[in-house]
């Protein structure tokens, strides 16, 4: 029977799994990579600006307590701002290369270059963010063994600002880890 034969043919085709074309998956990965790069660039930019613009001047004058706090007073926070700026500039500069990968999905050497530079920048950003976190922790809680005083008790808004600026940096670190994984999956697929 013709109708039965036709049904049999479509049944056979329907039972086979439809293979996803390799180019499409690579393209989706490349688009995801581009989007995440933009997100990470925005995160680091926000962190650098929030930390860089943080200053507070107390309205009174005391003889032994400093009455003005800026991020420049602590070299670790300055390293944090510099590291975030460097990673932000790098991410913006790598956006064209990532865009090229969307169009030309067979690129191998440029993906490896991107993985290597992403790893190095992730190391830099993580070091800066964790060093700043250690300092912010000290600012909140102090340390009794070494007589390091917690200056958050005087400078409330400065403290809140430097604590909040860490968030953008940590988001960017997570995104960079995801970027490295996406690039390596894209390399191994072709």
């Amino acid at each position: 029977m013709k109708a039965g034969g036709a049904v049999d043919a479509t049944d056979k085709e329907a039972s086979k799994p439809i293979p996803i074309p390799k180019v499409r998956v690579s393209r989706v990965l490349s688009v995801l990579d581009f989007t995440l790069r933009v997100v990470a660039a925005l995160g680091t930019l926000a962190s650098a600006i929030a930390m860089g613009a943080s200053r507070e001047t107390l309205p009174f004058v005391a003889q032994f307590v400093r009455f003005r706090a800026r991020y420049k007073d602590l070299p670790t926070l300055m390293f944090f701002v510099i590291a975030n700026s460097i990673v932000c500039v790098y991410l913006v500069l790598s956006l064209p290369l990532s865009f090229v990968h969307i169009i030309w999905t067979a690129a191998k050497t440029s993906r490896i270059v991107l993985i290597v530079s992403d790893t190095v920048m992730m190391g830099l950003l993580t070091a800066g963010a964790s060093a700043a976190t250690a300092i912010v922790y000290l600012a909140h809680y102090g340390n009794s063994s070494t007589n390091w005083f917690a200056f958050c008790q005087q400078f409330n808004s400065f403290c809140g600002r430097i604590s909040g600026s860490l968030i953008g940096s940590f988001v960017a670190i997570t995104v960079l880890v995801l970027l490295i994984i996406i690039q390596s999956v894209a390399i191994s697929r072709r």
């Binding site: 602590l74 670790t76 993580t126 070091a127 060093a131 300092i135 063994s145 200056f151 994984i181 390596s184």
Partner: protein, 206 residues
């Protein structure tokens, strides 16, 4: 001749001449499959990866051990300063110890997987898994190193704006041991970065 993924050079069989004579220069040429060449290169990279992994294990264990055994008791006694310093006093150093131990433990557990990828150079699933876990370990190690470096920098130099005194002037030995632990952790970080690069290079399929 079937051209799969092997490079075969098709030459006519020549019975008379033994070696490749000057006249025609034709002999049977070995067919070296391209897959075997790639496998050889990947096997070399996997061997280097195992060696680097063992080096990173030693560095991470050294960092954790040096930090764990760093305490110093001063022989004298003053009214305002504490006379004992240990890694327990700073939460950053506690985090450093825990994180470097975790990284060392992960690296030890990943050595069998790395050896499997020497034996089977074409298994890219294992390499991808090792790369992903290596990236996570890199993040952990770098954050531990960064946090400890911030505290060590403060211990060496202090901070005049917030009245934080440099404790290295009193606790010289503690400072030195903690600084060397930080250096060992940075060696771990660089080694893990090289391992990630090797895994990314070995994942390519031509």
């Amino acid at each position: 001749m079937k051209s799969g993924d092997s490079t075969t050079i098709d030459v006519p069989h020549h019975e008379a001449s033994g070696g490749g004579g000057a006249s025609k220069g034709k002999g049977a040429i070995l067919t070296v499959p391209a897959r075997q060449e790639k496998g050889g290169m990947r096997r070399g990279m996997a061997i280097i990866d195992v060696v680097l992994r063992i080096g990173a294990i030693m560095a991470a264990l050294a960092a954790a051990a040096i930090m764990g055994t760093s305490d110093q008791n001063l022989p004298f006694f003053t009214q305002f300063f504490q006379f004992e310093a240990s890694y327990d006093d700073m939460p950053s150093f506690q985090f450093f110890l825990i994180a470097m131990s975790l990284v060392a433990g992960y690296l030890v557990l990943s050595v069998p997987f790395s050896i499997v990828s020497i034996v089977r150079p074409h298994a890219s699933g294992i390499r991808l898994l090792l790369l992903i876990l290596d990236v996570v370990a890199l993040t952990l190690a770098t954050s531990a190193a960064g946090a400890a470096t911030a505290i060590v920098y403060l211990a060496h130099n202090g901070n005049s704006s917030s009245n934080w005194l440099a404790i290295c002037n009193q606790f010289g030995d503690f400072c030195k041991t903690v600084s060397s632990a930080v250096v060992a952790s940075f060696v771990t970080v660089v080694t893990v970065m090289f391992m990630i690069l090797l895994s990314a290079l070995a994942l390519r399929k031509h």
